[in-house]
């Protein structure tokens, strides 16, 4: 297993004590990780899509010998990044039997559209959006991948080439009047091949006192999303921040530069393949070693 995989899994497997704190990592892992860091700079796009290798193949082969799953309602798909438990990875020697645990993917973000009926106020909002899009000469199916209603909030997954015009419709149509853009935020799902990077836009309508989220996805190797700054000037800094942390390039942004990290910082820290800590920090010629390479007092 490559080191990247290990890091991703450490980040993913929630119950895994190894990933809980970096301090409790096995010394071998730490040494390996340090080596990899020296070889590859964080700027390089590490593609988690390549992750499933012999380990997955072995797990699949093992599964063939297992009894079939009991009959019942259709199960959600296996979680793309989580199999096994208690550190029962490749070569761990774990014989507890818990390593066969399969985590099912229940994340609505990866699911299909939420079928109607929705809660009343969201039904009305959905109808208003359809009407507004018709007014603009388009339809739901043209501009949206899917529509999610979850925990009382509605999220429109907008096709990325349509984002700018959808934002304009959402702001200007009298039925919608989403005057304010409250923010843009990135989320990185490395296991979603072809749509690893998500950007979520929160809109607020003071006129109608309601909110929507617009979510756009883009692949890791083509991280371009149209900018909405020309519709919502307030998105300016939020898009810069999302670029800074995730490397999403907002096409049409007036000055897409880093905002939180230093201008010459390599890499995009909020990506899942970017480690926590362990980045040498240079300041006025001095170099601060990553935590696992600093001198210890024991």
């Amino acid at each position: 297993m490559s080191d990247d995989e290990k890091r991703t899994e450490a980040a993913d497997s929630a119950g895994d004590a190894q990933g809980m704190t970096s301090g409790s990592q096995h010394p071998d892992d730490v040494a390996e990780a340090a080596e990899t860091r020296a070889e590859t700079s964080p700027t390089e796009d590490q593609k988690p899509a390549e992750a499933p290798t012999e380990e997955t193949a072995a797990a699949e082969a093992e599964e063939e010998s297992l009894p079939a799953e009991p009959e019942g309602p259709a199960l959600p798909p296996e979680h793309p990044s989580r199999r096994g438990m208690f550190g029962a990875y490749d070569g761990s020697g774990d014989t507890s039997g818990y390593g066969r645990l399969v985590v099912r993917d229940t994340n609505p973000v990866r699911g299909a559209s939420t079928p109607r009926p929705w809660p009343d106020e969201l039904e009305k909002l959905g109808d208003d959006v359809t009407a507004a899009l018709q007014e603009a000469g388009s339809t739901d199916a043209d501009v949206f991948e899917k529509v999610l209603v979850d925990r009382g909030q509605i999220t429109f997954f907008v096709k990325r080439e349509k984002l700018a015009e959808v934002a304009r419709t959402f702001r200007d149509d009298p039925l919608l009047r989403f005057e304010m853009c409250m923010g843009v935020n990135g989320v990185h799902y490395p296991e979603e091949t072809g749509r690893e990077l998500h950007a979520v836009v929160q809109l607020l309508s003071i006129t109608h006192n309601r909110r929507v989220n617009l979510e756009v996805t883009c692949p890791d190797d083509d991280p371009h999303i149209p900018s909405i700054v020309h519709t919502y000037p307030s998105a300016n800094w939020h898009e810069r921040e999302t670029y800074d942390f995730f490397g999403i390039l907002f096409d049409g942004h007036p000055a897409l530069t880093r905002i939180q990290m230093p201008d010459d910082w390599p890499g995009h820290p909020q990506r899942k393949d970017y480690p926590l800590g362990g980045i040498p920090v240079e300041y006025k010629g001095a170099t601060i070693a990553p935590p696992d390479e600093r001198r210890a007092y024991n």
Partner: protein, 453 residues
């Protein structure tokens, strides 16, 4: 700029001072001003370029922390203003992805350090929404949350008024403001154990119940505050110097606020009574009786008056909270989420209560396992994402909480009002005098801890 492009010629006699002097760059000469050398600089500047670009900050005492203002000056007039931020970026959002959901509270409370309870509340309400337990939070916990948030709103506004006054030369407002704030922080210390960064509001409720004597202390505090809050108004409302510095300064109208996503007192100073406690209530705010103060001047003076009025409304809400406090649990009943132990003061400081330790160590193996699993591993939160906005003292504070079904957050992002509102600095300051920049920025009340996170 590479090193070769820069020639370094120290000015005047200070040949041995590497920090003072003038550097020739492709952009023109760059002067480093260290004091006592203004004549050299101004003479050189007058001889050459008429356009001066001044870096105000990031270590300037009047910029509310490490905010860097890049001002292009024509004489005393600001022709262009830009903000440089990021000097206080600490990677809190990244760190949270490596800790449990409960530990996340400890991180978010350190973001906007003047309003820790709002950070906690936004995050916790988001987590509770993901868990689907919003309606199961005990009434007493909700009342305590509202009370702490409103006390916090008072302390935050006091700092805004105090530091804003100090920057204009009204030093009494600073000394009085910090005296009153200290009283508020004393209450926080009494109730949560810490003056700041208390990590008190937890998923499912609050960390611990009010200690004995807390209600009386809050009542006494209310009396004290009602006595003292008038002094700010008496001092500033009709003070000609204060009004001269603030009236019509930092003007931003409703259209500007909408375009730039500005919320909070700045938005309300345009006359729009937009307050999430009224329009999209949470924590039971719809049941409290309070007003949303507005002004229609859209300037720094109006924002100052709004903050004073909001403090009075907060005092009213705290009073209603005290009247509503009924005995009861302060943590959700679901044992798979609630923190397993109640804290208590022992001979060696605060820790798990002796009853609880007796239970897990002597009576029930299952309780011990449960305690261990919940404290080390934490609870799982069903996958999904929510955006939870609340009304912080500075405007809309939104927590975008994403779970992938694990015991740790997949991503937590804070839409901090300071971050967003600082975008208004060019609109407010360009065309004004340098001294007005200070007042305008103070009326935005940015807190860089929240801005940079």
């Amino acid at each position: 700029m590479s090193q070769q492009d820069v020639t370094f010629t120290p000015a005047g006699d200070d040949t041995d001072d590497p920090y003072a002097g003038v550097r020739e760059t492709t952009e023109g000469p760059v002067y480093t001003v260290t004091g006592q050398d203004w004549d050299d600089v101004i003479g050189a500047a007058a001889a050459g370029e008429e356009r001066i670009v001044v870096n105000m900050g990031p270590q300037h005492p009047s910029t509310h922390g490490v905010l860097r203002l890049i001002l292009e000056l024509d004489g005393e007039n600001v022709t262009e203003a830009r903000c440089g931020i990021g000097y206080l970026h600490t990677g809190i959002e990244k760190n949270m992805e490596y800790r449990t959901w409960t530990q996340g509270v400890t991180f978010v409370t350190r973001m906007d350090y003047l309003s820790p309870f709002f950070n906690e509340a936004a995050y916790v309400l988001g987590v509770e929404k993901l868990l689907g337990i919003t309606d199961d939070i005990p009434e007493r916990a909700n009342v305590i949350r509202v009370m702490m948030m409103e006390l916090n709103r008072i302390s935050s506004h006091l700092v805004c008024i105090a530091t804003g006054g100090m920057e204009m030369g009204a030093l009494t407002m600073m000394t009085n403001g910090f005296r009153e704030r200290e009283r508020t922080l004393d209450l926080f210390e009494l109730i949560t154990g810490l003056r700041m960064n208390s990590a008190y509001i937890r998923p499912g409720g609050v960390a611990q119940d009010l200690p004995p004597g807390a209600v009386e202390s809050v009542r006494e505090y209310l009396r004290w505050m009602w006595d003292h809050i008038g002094s700010y108004e008496a001092f500033a409302n009709e003070n000609p110097v204060f009004k001269g510095r603030t009236v019509d300064v930092g003007y931003l109208d409703l259209a500007g606020c909408m375009a730039l996503g500005i919320t909070g007192p700045v938005l309300r100073s345009t006359g729009l009574p937009w307050d999430l406690r009224k329009s999209q209530p949470y924590c039971g705010y719809e049941t409290y009786d309070f007003e949303v103060p507005t002004r229609d001047t859209a300037d720094s003076y109006g924002r100052f008056r709004i903050r004073i009025d909001e403090m009075k409304e907060s005092l009213k809400i705290v009073e209603q909270c005290l009247d509503r406090l009924e005995p009861g649990p302060v943590m959700v009943g679901d044992k798979k989420i609630a923190w397993p132990a109640q804290l208590a003061i022992g001979s060696d400081g605060m820790g798990n209560s002796l009853d609880h330790i007796r239970h897990i160590m002597g009576e029930s193996m299952e309780a011990l396992i449960h305690h261990f699993k919940l404290v080390t591993e934490g609870f799982r939160v069903p996958a999904g994402e929510v955006y939870m906005p609340i009304e912080s003292p500075r405007g809309e504070l939104g927590a975008h909480v994403v779970s992938d079904g694990g015991t740790r957050p997949w991503r937590v992002h804070f839409r901090d009002p300071s971050f967003n509102n600082l975008q208004a600095v060019p609109a407010m300051c360009e065309g004004s005098m340098v001294a007005d920049v200070i007042v305008s920025v103070a009326s935005l009340d940015p807190v860089m801890g929240g801005c940079d996170r």
